[in-house]
């Protein structure tokens, strides 16, 4: 019984541990310090965006516009900092734009009751279009001194993008578990009508969630532009699906109301490890897509079995 309970509660954690151990055993280059850093860098943007995607999902919605917002954020960072010579202004423009996109998403969804799928699908297109227009279809190189700081500076031997991701995990873990806002979000996802009648400001909470999502995506855009010392209008494609996959792998329910930051950390790393190992083994990227898809499907099935076991 204890064992069953443990498996139900932390099924994905066990899967994660097994995958990590197998990788370390059978892929010699895997468990090296350099590879761990590469792994961290590879998942940094997904990790940052997954934090806010967790909130969107926990509240019963999701945000498909994060990939486009990442591209727009990176471009604004490059364009504004090139124009003004101020990195601060660049970051401000990017994150501000992300907030506006989130505000639009949240308002349409929460105030006008439009489905999150349609709303964020539309903004995803609009924002990607805006990014294309803004960039003229080319890469924008960052010219201001220190543009690459957030992407490649090392603190205690670890690059800034990884620190950013860790910072996001900590902050959003705190928000989810220790603040009224976080618990309200879970309650809204768990039962919106009950949350409303219990005096929770449902619309306001949802709007804040989407604003945070937009800001986080734009900030992830700043980080990745800084790392490449250039911003591309194509950046962040399929990011929304990666983030949702990572969350679902981490046990976040698509139906809302269930999710934990530790689960998201596991989900992000699990996806990262699988891709990392396949790259080390020189497996074709097309096969990587197949494997990632299969893993996602299995995760959802595990999730369903878990829900059933909890009900019984």
């Amino acid at each position: 019984m204890k064992m069953k309970q443990f498996l139900i509660q932390s099924g994905m954690l066990v899967v994660f541990a097994i995958v990590a151990i197998l990788a370390a055993l059978f892929v010699p280059q895997f468990a090296t310090g350099q590879n761990m850093v590469n792994l961290g860098l590879a998942v940094a943007t997904v990790g940052i965006v997954s934090c806010t995607m967790l909130f969107c999902l926990a509240g019963g919605d999701f945000d498909l516009s994060v990939g486009s917002t990442l591209a727009l954020g990176g471009l604004l960072f490059a364009l504004v900092s090139n124009r003004t010579g101020s990195l601060f202004m660049g970051v401000l423009a990017a994150v501000g734009a992300g907030a506006v996109i989130g505000l639009v998403n949240g308002t349409v969804i929460a105030k006008f009751g439009i489905n999150a799928l349609i709303t964020t699908l539309a903004t995803m297109q609009i924002v990607r279009g805006a990014a294309n227009i803004m960039s003229g279809g080319t890469m924008i190189t960052g010219q201001t001194a220190g543009f690459e700081w957030l992407g490649s500076e090392k603190v205690l031997g670890v690059q800034m993008p990884i620190w950013c991701m860790i910072f996001f995990f900590v902050i959003f873990g705190f928000l989810l578990n220790r603040t009224v806002f976080g618990r309200d979000t879970l309650a809204i996802g768990g039962n919106p009508e009950a949350a409303h009648l219990a005096g929770i400001p449902v619309a306001r909470t949802k709007i804040i969630v989407f604003i945070l999502s937009g800001m986080a995506a734009a900030f992830a855009g700043v980080v990745s532009a800084s790392r490449l010392v250039a911003a591309s209008n194509n950046a962040g494609e399929k990011l929304e699906l990666q983030a949702i996959s990572a969350c679902v792998l981490g046990g976040v329910s698509l139906a809302g109301g269930v999710g934990s930051i530790s689960g998201v950390v596991v989900g992000v790393l699990l996806m990262g490890i699988v891709e990392n190992v396949m790259r080390l083994k020189n497996i074709d990227t097309f096969w990587q897509m197949v494997v990632t898809g299969v893993i996602l499907l299995v995760a959802v099935l595990i999730d369903r079995a878990k829900a059933k076991a909890l009900k019984a």
Binding site: V180, N191, A194, L197, G199
Partner: protein, 482 residues
């Protein structure tokens, strides 16, 4: 021709039908009467194959029939016409009539046959509309006719109507009655469920009364049967416990709205049939959709549930599942859903205060569960309800509005909830209690408001209330509807 034999249906915690036996003749209109929760709807659902009885059987033309699904019932010649019609608004009239048995040739819809047969069946019910018209464009009364036409194309021998006149005008009611009379002449067996006593006495040939899931009496002829006779058989429900009413000293006016005034320590009941607008009344006060609300003379700004809570006015929904619990969250989290906003410091949870509040409410309301950390969805209805009471009662209260707080929960938990309500009133809180159960409102309340069709139509002090009197006020009549 249609006979129920010892039909029994048990739901968790409730015996919805208890060995119900009666029969109805072909070529007659047979009324089925009873209060809310008497078992009429369950019986109709058994008849239409939605529910399977736990024991007993339905006999049609001396043959016991076994209904496994709604489609089974239709093929056996039984059609039930519900208040919310079973039609698809986006499809045409013809398609709706043939829904589920569309005439086809090799899987393709046979359009000509569909059209011709539709015209014929529409003529049968006296409805003159284009079969290709979208159903959604028809008024309710005509949609009902379409539903009847649908039943006739299925060659129904038994046609049951559930409150068919509740949304019809006088003229439409007359047309429906003419059609029902012609169904009787065609030898159909018509079952007629209605709360409108004048319809029962004027339209029907026979009448069966249910109470608490039990068969009370069947009048084979309506000779000498009056509305009073039927109401008399409907009341007298036995809830299995006695409410010990404790007289309280009433204080100053606490809750005041356009429609009602409640004093401190007063328990005011709101009685009415389902759909009389009781829940809407409470939600309007709580969520601030209309009217003026004053608590202790202070105007409560209209807007949201939150402002009401801030003024000490709380509400417990009748719909525990959809508007009450957050099923996957723990009992403690469910209890703290409202209070945590006040307990928190700068938006950060005060875990200690939340723990204390959850433990206090868990104990005070007598929630029975392994601990307050288990998911609330795993508890019984009664314990969920007590935890939800714990949620709304966390904090300083002035007015409490409870919507059917004891519905669907076991007798023991019912008594405990009544005790909690009494305690609240003794503490000076103004209580507004909605209930469909006469013994409950009469046992617990100082005063009873009766609602009918969206309006408060009676204000009866405790010592003047009788079951017959309250029920008579609550029952609608065709004259009023028009």
């Amino acid at each position: 021709m249609l006979r129920f034999e010892n039909v029994t249906k048990q739901f968790p915690g409730v015996l919805a039908l208890d060995k119900v036996s009666w029969s109805a003749r072909a070529g007659s209109v047979h009324a089925l009467c009873g209060e809310n929760g008497a078992g009429k709807s369950t019986l109709l659902k058994v008849l239409s194959g939605v529910y399977r009885p736990d024991s007993g059987q339905i006999v049609l033309d001396d043959v016991p029939i076994n209904l496994r699904s709604a489609n089974d019932a239709l093929t056996q010649g039984i059609a039930v016409i519900y208040q919310e019609l079973n039609l698809v608004p986006h499809l045409s009239v013809a398609e709706n009539i043939w829904l589920g048995h569309t005439p086809s040739r090799m899987g393709l819809v046979d359009r000509r046959a569909l059209r011709n047969q539709t015209v014929a069946s529409l003529e049968q019910v006296g409805l003159n509309v284009d079969p290709d018209m979208r159903l959604g464009e028809l008024p309710i009364a005509q949609r009902q006719m379409v539903e009847i036409a649908k039943a006739l194309t299925r060659d129904a021998k038994v046609i049951a109507f559930d409150e068919p006149t509740s949304s019809l005008s006088m003229k439409e009611v007359d047309q429906l009655f003419a059609l029902i009379n012609s169904l009787r002449e065609q030898g159909k067996c018509v079952l007629y469920v209605s709360h409108r006593m004048n319809e029962v006495t004027s339209l029907c040939d026979a009448c069966t009364v249910l109470r608490d899931g039990k068969h009370v009496e069947t009048f084979d002829s309506m000779q000498g049967v009056t509305a009073e006779t039927i109401i008399n058989r409907m009341v007298g429900r036995d809830l299995g416990e006695v409410f010990a009413f404790v007289p309280r000293e009433l204080g100053a006016v606490r809750l005041e709205t356009n429609d009602l005034t409640i004093r401190s320590s007063e328990i005011v009941g709101v009685f009415g049939l389902v759909g009389a607008g009781r829940t809407e009344l409470l939600k309007d006060i709580y969520c601030g959709s209309l009217g003026e609300v004053h608590v202790d003379g202070v105007h409560v700004p209209r807007g949201s549930a939150r402002t009401s809570i801030e003024h000490g006015l709380v509400y417990l929904s009748e719909d525990r599942k959809h508007e009450g619990i957050v099923p996957l969250m723990s009992v403690a989290e469910n209890i703290n859903l409202t209070a945590r906003r006040k307990l928190a410091r700068a938006g950060v949870l005060n875990k200690g205060a939340e723990k204390a509040n959850a433990e206090a409410q868990f104990a005070n309301q007598g929630v029975r569960a392994a601990s307050d950390q288990v998911a609330i969805g795993t508890l019984s209805g009664g314990n969920q309800q007590k935890a939800l009471l714990g949620r709304i009662l966390s904090g300083s209260l002035k007015g409490v509005m409870l919507d059917e707080p004891t519905r669907g929960i076991d007798v023991g938990a019912k008594g405990e909830i009544h005790k909690i309500i009494n305690q609240l009133a003794s503490d000076g809180v103004a209580v507004l209690l909605v209930s469909s159960e006469l013994p409950e409102v009469m046992g617990v309340c100082d005063r009873i408001l009766v609602m009918r069709e969206g309006r408060i139509v009676g204000n009866v002090p405790r010592d003047e209330a009788t079951e017959e009197g309250l029920l008579k006020l609550a029952l609608p009549s065709s004259e009023v509807a028009a």
